[in-house]
């Protein structure tokens, strides 16, 4: 008997799963034994909590009294690992922040994964472990989840959706429509860091300096602001895609007011400034993942600023602008040379330019 006459499973083209593999396979999403193994060996250890470990179709939770905030977001970032984080930690921070921007204390999450066949399991483990750490730091639990696998070529590695619930304390009213003339605009620190960090590792554009994303959970900063200023905090927003400019444009339109920024007051660090000059970017349009904008009544803005500056994520906090009546629905920049210009919404992404 020679080897040639024995069947060679590694040459089979049917999707019969081999016993062990170091990459994600279609069978991992099939709901059978391999799915079970994946959940028990990858997800549960990293995300461990009583509600999850019931491993039922859905989680049953008891919530404290108060209004429930509910938010969802999907994460498709490329590259999946970047300086300062990965798609896993981002999936936690992003949804924590969406809840925090409603004034809520984030509590419980769902996490749904769409994995591409061929994704190294070591990458998946790393991402889920990172999620676990981010969740633990933010004080949230991932109580339910789902995993699907798509054919090679149909997935870009990994997509994650997280949905979260939180409780909004009594008396807290946060909405973009509540900005009013006279309010001051605050930011907790240097802008444009995340977008430039991502750009700096992209082929064809890399820098020789490591730029670390600012991705972080902002619920403590929000809590600190609400503690000192309560209902005088009118609007909260985390300026992610589209940057500070897009977020403030949306708020100005929603509230029917104008927002004027003071260019000299906007914190931008030297590395980000250099990168933006080189690529021809305006930092106002570059994404952030650890920044919070607050629009606060003038009587309490200083108190919020002081509270933020006492927190590690707010040491560079600054008052960067003011809400006015006119021109309604518009964001205006008072430039460093003393002129004023409109800061419009961009129609698409900023692209690096040489002109």
């Amino acid at each position: 008997m020679t080897d040639e006459r024995l069947p060679d499973p590694s040459q089979w083209s049917c999707p019969a799963p081999t016993e062990s593999s170091d990459t994600v396979q279609l069978a991992h999403g099939g709901g059978g034994r391999l799915t079970q193994k994946l959940i028990e060996s990858v997800f549960v250890p990293a995300l461990r909590n009583p509600a999850l470990e019931v491993l039922h179709d859905g989680a049953i939770l008891s919530l404290p009294p108060g209004r429930i905030a509910f938010s969802t977001d999907s994460y498709v970032i490329d590259p999946i690992f970047f300086p300062g984080g990965d798609i896993g930690s981002l999936a936690v921070h992003g949804t924590v922040n969406d809840l925090a921007m409603c004034g809520a204390r984030p509590l419980h999450f769902s996490a749904a994964f769409i994995l591409e066949e061929g994704l190294p399991l070591s990458d998946l483990r790393r991402i889920v472990a990172s999620m676990g750490r981010a969740a633990a730091e933010a004080g949230v639990t991932v109580v339910t989840g789902d995993t699907k696998v798509v054919d090679r070529g149909k997935g870009d590695g990994i997509f994650i959706n997280t949905a979260g619930i939180g409780i909004v304390p009594e008396g807290v009213e946060i909405a973009p429509t509540l900005a009013r003339a006279g309010d001051l605009v605050l930011v907790n620190g240097e802008i444009a860091v995340h977008g430039i960090a991502i750009m700096s590792v992209r082929q064809g554009l890399q820098f020789e300096t490591e730029m670390v994303s600012d991705a972080a959970s902002l619920h403590e900063l929000v809590a600190a602001a609400l503690e000192v200023a309560g209902s005088h905090v009118h609007v909260l927003r985390d300026p992610t895609r589209g940057g500070v400019a897009s977020a403030l444009n949306e708020i100005a339109t929603a509230a029917g007011v104008s927002i004027e920024l003071e260019e000299r007051s906007i914190p931008v660090n030297e590395a980000v400034q250099g990168a933006c000059e080189l690529l021809g970017f305006d930092p106002l349009y570059v994404a952030n993942e650890g920044k919070c904008l607050a629009i606060v009544a003038p009587s309490h803005a200083q108190a919020v600023l002081d509270a933020w500056r006492r927190h590690p994520l707010g040491k560079d906090a600054a008052i960067i602008g003011q809400v006015r009546e006119e021109p309604r629905g518009r964001l205006v920049l008072h430039t460093r040379i003393g002129a004023r210009r409109i800061v419009d919404m961009l129609s698409g992404e900023q692209l690096p330019r040489i002109c």
Partner: protein, 96 residues
């Protein structure tokens, strides 16, 4: 048409045939740049960089002169303005 950014030469690195590369610092970042068009460039010099190439060495003396000339012209213009619509003042600085 010409996004040319000033930076400081912090390293002169490899030399392939016909192509001298170096590292230039812009604000807080470093980037690899081709220095071939400035064969006499040295560490610490400032250059203008466009599309990954250094195209000129910044003349620091000339740079200072431009600012100084403007300053002088500006002061003169404001003095003239101030004279033209001068109101007897209490001795405070009339030229801002």
């Amino acid at each position: 048409m010409c996004l040319g950014v000033p930076g400081k030469v912090v390293a002169i690195t490899r030399h392939e045939v016909g192509m001298q590369m170096g590292r230039v610092q812009f604000g807080g970042i470093h980037k690899e740049v081709c220095l071939s068009f400035l064969p006499d460039i040295q560490l610490g010099d400032y250059v203008i960089v466009h599309a990954g190439f250094a195209i000129s060495q910044l003349d620091e003396a000339e740079a200072a002169i431009t600012l100084e000339i403007l300053r002088q012209m500006g002061d003169l213009a404001e003095l003239t303005e101030a004279d033209a619509d001068a109101v007897p003042n209490t001795g405070s600085d009339a030229v801002r």
